[in-house]
């Protein structure tokens, strides 16, 4: 066996990318003034410690707890409503945009027209998710006024964009064997989705959806912007006031909700497994 055949042909590419990423890392460190050691200086630690020590005990008078409970439900309800609408938007768009469900791409190259359609859908998703919720909220405030409606819609649009993209990515990075085999035998796209892609990716899709729901709960600060209330707004104002005790209570609620979402996700995946 001649010697050169035993040299790894991928080696150069690897070296190049390793060096290139190092070269890119340097300016980022400079631009972000990345100096972690200043966190360890005593006069940096003390105020932070003061703030954190105000976390204990968390605020727990009945009045606040009642408020907390009401806002928690509001938040959960808005997140759920926003997510349901987002799903309505994301599912068809992601199915339209995935390559594995493309009939013409079965043989490698996608036909022109579907390729353009897919690209358009991808761009739509991108615009939907790259415009911050606040901007959407302000658009809707003009029509439905202050209150949960505009907040829910804002969440629905941005999250629709995100879910659509991530669903498409998940479907695309899975093994295409089962689905392409069905389509090659003449099954339709939706049929293929239900008979090959869904059983394969159900777990991953669920775990992402539940995670996003949990995100919607957490990021409900945007809802406060337009007067829809919610935990996010409460957190926002307590945080601005450096009210440690309140922050701690709200954080505990967040953690409980996140824990709950985790359990739900695990249970769902167990059922699917």
């Amino acid at each position: 066996m001649p010697e050169p055949a035993l040299r790894d042909p991928a080696w150069r590419g690897r070296l190049f990318w390793a060096l290139a990423s190092l070269a890119l890392l340097w300016p980022t460190l400079v631009l972000t003034e990345f100096k972690p050691w200043i966190l360890l200086e005593p006069d940096a630690l003390k105020p932070a410690w003061n703030f954190i020590s105000a976390f204990f005990p968390p605020r727990s008078d009945p009045e606040f707890l009642l408020l907390l409970a009401r806002e928690t439900w509001r938040t959960v309800a808005m997140a759920t409503a926003g997510m349901s609408l987002a799903l309505l938007l994301a599912l068809p768009l992601s199915l339209l945009s995935v390559r594995v469900l493309s009939l013409s791409a079965l043989t490698g190259r996608m036909a022109l027209l579907p390729a353009i359609l897919r690209q358009l859908v991808r761009w739509t998703l991108m615009v939907l998710r790259s415009v911050p919720e606040l901007v959407w909220a302000l658009v809707f405030v003009r029509v439905v006024g202050l209150g949960p409606t505009s907040g829910v819609l804002a969440i629905a649009l941005t999250y629709g964009g995100m879910l659509g993209k991530v669903y498409a990515d998940i479907l695309e990075s899975s093994d295409a064997h089962a689905s392409s085999s069905l389509m090659r035998n003449g099954a339709g796209r939706l049929q293929t989705f239900f008979y090959a892609l869904l059983p394969q990716n159900a777990a991953e899709l669920t775990s992402y959806t539940v995670y996003r729901w949990e995100c919607a709960i957490r990021s409900s600060a945007v809802l406060g912007f337009v007067g829809a209330g919610g935990l996010g707004q409460l957190m926002d104002s307590s945080m601005k006031m450096f009210n440690g005790a309140e922050v701690a209570s709200i954080l505990l609620v967040f953690m409980a909700l996140v824990w709950l979402a985790d359990r739900i996700s695990a249970a769902l995946r167990k059922i699917l497994a």
């Binding site: 105020p47 703030f51 006024g145 202050l146 912007f225 707004q233 104002s237 601005k240 006031m241």
Partner: protein, 261 residues
């Protein structure tokens, strides 16, 4: 059944706003004879958009927000009343740094304003800084926007920023309530007076209702227990009528500070 919708700019935290508004809402329900709903928001722009598009009927605005609403709606908003204090409103600059004594000492420091849309928390302090030949965008190390007056105090107390600019009445209330340690945090500059807050309605409101509303505000009196409670919460001696011309000065300041085009 029609609902009379009220909102306010979030110059304080929404819980505080809701607390302040509760007795006023009850009072308006009685005098207007219809259901009144107060919605606190946390974004200045949202309250402006809502009134300019007739999604709320009445809004509590700062001078600058009023000017913005007027511009956004093509002049279709009308200021009804303001507090007596609002005719000569002032802002304060506070600090916890003993080295800062004048506005000029702020150069190279971290300074926090309130919200970018606030009159007394941003526009006027900025305008007076510019008059003193200090350009916040160039001369300060960093400019932060805390979002609300009380948050600015908190940021200065926590040492997050070296100095902050805010509304004098919030500062005085904090001092009166003992919520801030005046030995550590002190005022080092107070601005001259300017026109600020008012209650604004949109121009399409029937004149009769506007009249009724104005009268309801003007007849609030510290003598009655109800009036006392409302006025105290609003931090007002009494309400007086106002007109759009009062806010020309603010508009000019906004133009010269580059906040309005």
């Amino acid at each position: 059944q029609a609902v009379f919708k009220v909102t306010a700019i979030p110059d304080e935290s929404p819980t505080e706003l809701a607390r302040k508004a509760a007795p006023l809402v009850k009072y308006l329900e009685k005098t207007l004879g219809m259901k009144v709903e107060f919605t606190p928001v946390t974004d200045y722009a949202a309250s402006v958009e809502a009134l300019a598009n007739k999604q709320v009927d009445l809004a509590w605005y700062g001078g600058f927000t009023f000017v913005q609403a007027s511009v956004r709606s093509g002049g279709k908003v009308i200021p009804l009343v303001q507090r007596e204090e609002d005719a000569k409103f002032r802002s304060v600059f506070i600090t916890s740094d003993p080295a800062i004594k004048t506005l000029a000492d702020l150069k190279g420091k971290n300074v926090s304003f309130g919200s970018q849309s606030s009159t007394s928390g941003h526009l006027m302090p900025r305008s007076f800084l510019l008059q003193a030949n200090i350009d916040p965008d160039k001369d300060f190390k960093r400019v932060a926007y805390s979002g609300a007056h009380d948050a600015t105090i908190a940021a200065v107390v926590a040492g997050k920023v070296d100095a902050g600019a805010l509304n004098i009445s919030v500062w005085e209330k904090f001092v009166a309530d003992g919520k801030v340690d005046t030995n550590k945090v002190r005022v080092f500059y107070t601005t001259p007076g300017f026109y600020d807050y008012n209650w604004t309605v949109h121009a399409d409101m029937p004149a009769a209702q506007r009249e009724k509303l104005t009268k309801a505000f003007l007849s609030l009196d510290r003598a009655s227990p109800e009036g006392k409670e409302i006025l105290e919460l609003q931090r007002a001696t009494r309400f007086i009528p106002t007109k759009a011309e009062n806010y020309k000065g603010i508009e000019q300041a906004a133009h010269s500070a580059g906040l309005l085009k």
